[in-house]
Symmetry: C2
Subunit: 627 residues, 2 copies
C-alpha cells in the first residue's frame, strides 16, 4: 500500500473535498489548457487552407479570425449564463437532458465523449509531433513518447484536481507569458515602423498561385480555424471543482481564459498580416509552424525563441489534461442517470472519479496505439463533437429561460439563442467542409454511442425491476439447506469442512468421486471414523456418497449430482462446500489442482437459484509461510 500512497498520495476523506477545491490560478491550467493551447494550432489550420492563394491569402486570416472571435464571444456569454444557472456543474449533457429531454441529452453526451477522447489523444500526439519536428531523431519513439505522456497525465490526475492544477501551473503560465510577450513586442514594432516592420529573420515566401478566392475556400478555412474554440465548454462542466462561491470563481476563470485566448487569436492574426507570415505545407521539407515563424520574425532565434517553443510543446502535450478533468465528471453525470456503469460515479481515494480517468486513459491509449501516435487525421472528427455539444447546451439554455421566467430572462434567452444559432450553423459548416476528411465517422460513432447507452440503461432498469423489493422479510419456512461436501480423502481439511457443515445443517452429504477406482479405503475409514462417533453422539451421521467416474472426470459428476439434488428437492436450498488449501506463495499454487475454483464457477453458472457455494479455507500452521 505504501507504493500506492507514494504514487497517488494518501487517501482523502470525503470531508476534505472543500480543501481540494481550486481557484482561478489552478483552474486555468486544469480547465483552460485545452482552449488556450488551441491558439497554437487554430490559426495555423486556417492559414494552411489559404496556402493555394499564395501570399495574397495571408490577408484573409484577419476577417476569419474576427469571425471566430465573434463566435467565441457569443459562446462565452452563453456559458457565463449557464454557469450561473447550473452551479452544480452545467455541462452540455446536464443542460440538454434537463431542458430538452433524454435523447438530446444522450446526443450531447456522445458528442462530448467523442470530443474528450479525441482531445486527449490528439493533444498528446500533437505535442509529441511538435517535439519530433524539433528533434527528428526521436521519430522512432513516437508511440512510446505518447504513451509515456499519457501515463504521466493519468497519474497526475489520479492524484486529484488540486495537485494536477499545481503541477501544470508552471508550463501553462510560461506559455501564456511567452505568447503575450511576443504579441506585445510584435505589435509595438509594427506600430513603430508605421505598419511595415522588418523581420529579424524573414519568413519563407510563398509562391503566388493565382487561384481565385471562393466562398467555399473561406468557409473551409473558417471551419478549420474553429478548432481553436474546442475546450471552451470545460469550465462550465467543472463548476463543482471551484472554490465557493463556485459559480463566481468558475465564471471568473472562464473570463480570464476567454480573454487571453481572444488576445492571442487577434494578435496572431494581426502579426501574420503585418509580417507576411503564411502557413508552410505540413509534412513537407521546409515545414515550419506559424508560431515558430512569427517568433523568429519578431525576436530572432535566441533564448526567448527556445523557451517559447518549449512551452508550446509542453502545453500542447498537456492539453490532454482538460479532457482528464472533464471526462470523468461527464461520465459520472451519465452514470448517475443509469446510462453507464455505476462505478463511474464513485469517487476514488483522491476524490476524483477514478474509473472515469481509467476509462479515458484506456480509450485514448487505444487510439494512440492504433494510429501509432500520429493522430492528425482525427482532428476533423473532434470539432464536430465539440460544436454539437455547444449547440445542444445553448438550445437547452433557451428552454431553461423559457421555463424559469424572471427579470432578465428574455435577455438571457436571446444571448443563448444567438449562441445556439451561431454554433449550430458552425456544426453544419464544419460537417460539410470536413465531411470527406473524416467528419462522417463522427456521424456513425455518435449514434453508436447513444445506442450503447440506451442498452446499458435498459439492462440496469431490468435488473432493478428484478431485484427491487418493497416487501418485508419473509420469515416462514427457514429449513436449513442440504449441505454437500466434496471429499478427496479423510484429512484434517475434510474434518474441518465436515464440522462446519454439521453446525449449519443436519442434512450433510459427503461426495467422493472415484476416478481411480480406489475408494474402498475411504469407505471403511468413513464407517469407522465418522459414522461410528456420530452414532454414539446420537446424531444422524453424515452419509458418504461415492460417485463412479469411468471417464475420470471429477468436476462433472459432482456438478451433475448437485443439480440432480436441486431438482429432486424442490424448495430446499443446496449448499456445496468446497474445502480449499490456501497457499501464501503464488508459485506454491502451481503444485495443487484448482478443481474447487472450476467447480464453484460451474455451479454458480449452471445451478438455479437454490445452489450456494461455501469456501472452507485451510491454512498450514507454519506462520512463517504467511506473507
Amino acid at each position: 500500500m505504501d507504493l500506492i500512497d507514494l504514487l497517488l498520495g494518501r487517501p482523502l476523506a470525503t470531508e476534505e473535498e472543500k480543501a481540494e477545491r481550486i481557484g482561478p490560478a489552478k483552474g486555468i491550467p486544469i480547465f483552460g489548457l485545452d482552449a488556450l493551447s488551441s491558439a497554437a494550432y487554430g490559426p495555423e489550420a486556417a492559414l494552411t487552407l489559404l496556402i493555394p492563394l499564395g501570399m495574397a491569402g495571408v490577408a484573409y486570416i484577419v476577417p476569419i479570425s474576427i469571425s471566430i472571435i465573434f463566435l467565441l464571444a457569443i459562446v462565452y456569454f452563453s456559458y457565463r449564463q449557464t454557469i450561473m444557472a447550473y452551479p452544480q456543474g452545467g455541462g452540455s449533457y446536464t443542460v440538454a437532458s434537463e431542458n430538452l429531454g433524454v435523447w438530446p441529452g444522450l446526443l450531447a453526451a456522445a458528442s462530448l465523449m467523442v470530443d474528450y477522447v479525441l482531445t486527449a489523444a490528439v493533444g498528446i500526439s500533437a505535442g509529441v509531433g511538435a517535439l519530433i519536428s524539433a528533434m527528428p531523431s526521436l521519430e522512432k519513439h513516437t508511440l512510446a513518447l505518447c504513451l509515456a505522456i499519457l501515463i504521466v497525465v493519468t497519474l497526475v490526475n489520479l492524484r486529484g484536481v488540486s495537485e494536477a492544477g499545481a503541477i501544470f501551473r508552471v508550463p501553462t503560465y510560461l506559455f501564456i507569458f511567452c505568447l503575450l510577450a511576443m504579441i506585445a513586442l510584435g505589435v509595438i514594432k509594427t506600430l513603430a515602423s508605421g505598419g511595415h516592420p522588418v523581420p529579424v529573420i524573414a519568413p519563407p515566401h510563398l509562391m503566388g498561385t493565382a487561384e481565385a478566392l471562393g466562398i467555399w475556400l473561406l468557409l473551409r478555412a473558417f471551419a478549420s480555424g474553429c478548432t481553436a474554440m474546442t475546450g471552451v465548454e470545460a469550465v462550465s462542466n467543472g463548476v463543482m471543482a471551484f472554490k465557493e462561491p463556485a459559480s463566481v470563481t468558475a465564471r471568473l476563470t472562464l473570463t480570464v481564459v476567454i480573454g487571453i485566448l481572444t488576445v492571442m487569436l487577434a494578435g496572431i492574426a494581426f502579426l501574420c498580416r503585418a509580417y507576411g507570415v503564411a502557413a508552410t505545407p505540413p509534412g513537407q521539407s521546409g515545414y515550419q509552424s506559424v508560431l515558430s515563424q512569427l517568433l523568429v520574425a519578431i525576436t530572432g532565434k535566441g533564448i526567448f525563441y527556445g523557451v517559447s517553443i518549449g512551452s508550446i510543446l509542453v502545453v500542447l502535450a498537456l492539453s490532454a489534461n482538460t479532457a482528464f478533468a472533464d471526462f470523468p465528471r461527464l461520465a459520472r453525470a451519465i452514470a448517475q442517470n443509469g446510462f453507464l456503469p455505476h462505478g463511474l460515479a464513485i469517487r476514488g481515494r483522491r476524490l476524483v472519479y477514478t474509473q472515469g480517468v481509467y476509462a479515458l486513459a484506456l480509450l485514448a491509449g487505444t487510439l494512440l496505439i492504433v494510429f501509432g501516435g500520429v493522430t492528425d487525421r482525427l482532428i476533423p472528427l473532434y470539432a464536430v463533437g465539440a460544436f454539437m455539444a455547444f449547440t445542444l447546451s445553448q438550445a437547452g439554455m433557451v428552454m431553461h429561460w423559457k421555463r424559469v421566467r424572471g427579470p432578465g430572462s428574455s435577455k438571457s434567452m436571446f444571448v443563448n439563442g444567438l449562441g445556439a444559432l451561431a454554433t449550430g450553423l458552425t456544426v453544419i459548416i464544419v460537417l460539410i467542409a470536413k465531411f470527406t476528411e473524416g467528419a462522417w465517422i463522427t456521424l456513425l460513432l455518435i449514434p453508436g454511442l447513444i445506442l450503447m447507452m440506451r442498452l446499458v440503461k435498459r439492462h440496469f432498469d431490468y435488473v432493478a425491476g428484478e431485484t427491487d423489493n418493497g416487501a418485508p422479510l419473509n420469515i416462514r419456512d427457514l429449513t436449513p439447506p442440504i449441505v454437500v461436501i466434496t471429499i478427496d480423502r479423510w484429512s484434517r481439511i475434510t474434518q474441518k469442512a465436515l464440522r462446519f457443515a454439521m453446525t449449519i445443517s443436519p442434512d450433510v452429504l459427503a461426495l467422493h468421486v472415484d476416478y481411480d477406482q480406489e475408494s474402498d479405503t475411504l469407505a471403511s475409514q468413513w464407517a469407522q471414523l465418522v459414522e461410528e462417533p456420530a452414532r454414539r453422539a446420537g446424531l444422524a451421521g453424515p452419509r458418504l456418497v461415492i460417485l463412479k467416474s469411468p471417464y475420470r472426470f471429477v468436476i462433472r459428476p459432482i456438478l451433475d449430482y448437485a443439480l440432480d439434488l436441486e431438482k429432486n428437492n424442490p424448495g430446499r436450498q443446496i449448499a456445496v462446500l468446497t474445502p480449499e488449501l490456501v497457499e501464501f506463495r503464488w508459485y506454491l499454487n502451481l503444485l495443487h489442482n484448482h478443481r474447487s475454483a472450476a467447480l464453484k464457477a460451474l455451479l454458480l453458472f449452471q445451478g438455479d437459484r437454490r445452489i450456494m457455494v461455501i469456501n472452507i479455507p485451510w491454512y498450514l500452521t507454519d506462520q512463517d509461510a504467511r506473507p
Copy 2:
C-alpha cells in the same frame, strides 16, 4: 464440448484402456521414431568432425560406426532384460530409484527430463531446418513452422497413444522403406562393381588438408555419432502401452527398432566409404546432407530421391513424438512418488497423462521461441542426458539381479554391468568432448532440477503432515457460526441472502458500508421491513451494522470488521456471506462491480482458520438470458 470432441476425440472410459494398447506396428512409430530418425543425423555428426582430414577421413566412419553399433548392441541386450524385469514400465527413473535409492533416481529423472524436452525441441527444429535447406524461401517462417508442428504433435498425442501410432505410421514406414531400399541398392551396386561403384551423380570432393589423425579427434567423432543412440530407452519406459503380454510385445518392438537402426548405421557407413561421401561444412554454401549425397550417388535425382528426402524431413520433425509418448509417463512416475505435482499422474479424457503432454509442449515451445526455432546448439546437451540415464538404468539393473538371485541372474548381471560400464564411459567421453560446446549447461541444469524435485517433495510431505488425520470426527462443540452478510440496499438479493443466513445460524449480522453518507434510508427500511417481522415471529432480528467509511473504501471496512469479529470471538466460526448477481453474458459483467470477488480473495488470504466465505448467487428470471 462438441469442438473438443472433434479435436481430441470422445472421452475414453478407464476400462477401454486395454483397447488402447498397441502392437509393434504402432509401437515403432511411437516409441521407435526418435531412435530411427537419428540414423539421419548420427553418422553425419561423426563425419562432420572428420572434415579436417579431407577424403582420407571418410574411411574412419566405418570403425566409428562399428563401435557405436557395438555399444548399441550392449544397450539393446540390457534393455531386453529391463523390460522383462519391469513389465510395469522400467524407465531409468523407476529402475534407478528402486535399486539405487532416491538420489540416483532423481539424477536419472532429471537427466531424462532434460533429454526429452531437448528431443522434442531439437527434433522439430531439425526437421524444419532440413525443409528450409530444401526450400530456402521458407526461412523467415522458421519459428512459425516449428510451433505449428509442435501444436500438431501435441494435439495428436492428446488424442491418445493408439491414434498417434496410426497417424505417424505412414511417414515412419515410408522412411524405413526408402532408407533400406537405398542401402540394398547401394550394396548391390558396390558388390557388382567389385567395390568401386560409379556414382550416378558424384558427391563433392573434399580438399585434403593433411591434418594428422589424433585419438582426440576420433573420440570427438565417436561422441558426436553417439547422438544416433538417443531414444533407445523409450520402449522400456512405455511397456504398459503395449498389448498383452506387454513385456513380450515391447521386447519384440525393441528388437525390430534396434535391428533396423543397426542395418541403417552399418549400411550408411559402408556406402559412405564405397562412394566416397564426406560431410560438407554445415551452414556454408554448397552444404548437402550426407544422406542426400548418398541418395543422388546411388539413385540420381529422380522420384525416389524426392520421396526419400521428403520422408526424412517428416520423420525428423515427428521424432519429437517419442518425447511426447515418454515424457508424460516419466512425469507420472515421478509425480506418484511426490516429487512433482500430482496432476501429472492423472489420466485425461483419452487415457494419456494430459498435464505431462501440456508441460512438455510448454517447455519445448519455450525453447523453440527463445532460440527462434534454430536449436542445433542444443544438440550436445542432450546426448549427456540420454547416456546418463542409460548408465543409471544399467547400474540399477545390476543391483536388481544381485537382489533377485535366480537361474541366469549372473549372466543378466554381467550383461547389465557391461552396459553400465560402456554407457558410463560414453557419458564421460561425451562430457569431455562436448564440454565447451555446451555440455556444461547440463551439469548445471540437472542438479537444479533435482533440487526443485526435492523441494516439491518436501512441501508435499509438509502439507501431508499438516493435514493427515487418523483421528475420528470430533463431534463436540458444534455451535453455528456467526454469519455476516454484506448489504448494499434492501433488495430481493438481500432478502435471499438474509433468509439463507437465518437458516444456518441464529447469529446474523448485516453489514452496510456507508461510503456516500446516504444510509438513513436503509436504516429505516431495516427497522420496518426486517426487524419488525422478525420480532413478530419471535426471532432475534438480524442486526444492521453501519460502517462509516470516510475514505469511501468499501472492501477494507468489511474486511477489518470480519477480522475483528474473529479476534473477539475466540472459538467461533465466522461465515461471510456475499450476495452476487450472476450474469450469463460476459460483457454484462463489465456493468457491475466485482467487489465480492475481491472481498472473498482478501478474506481467504488474510483471515485465520475460522473465516468461511459463502457465495449466494442471484439469477435474473429471464430465462432467455441464459446461454
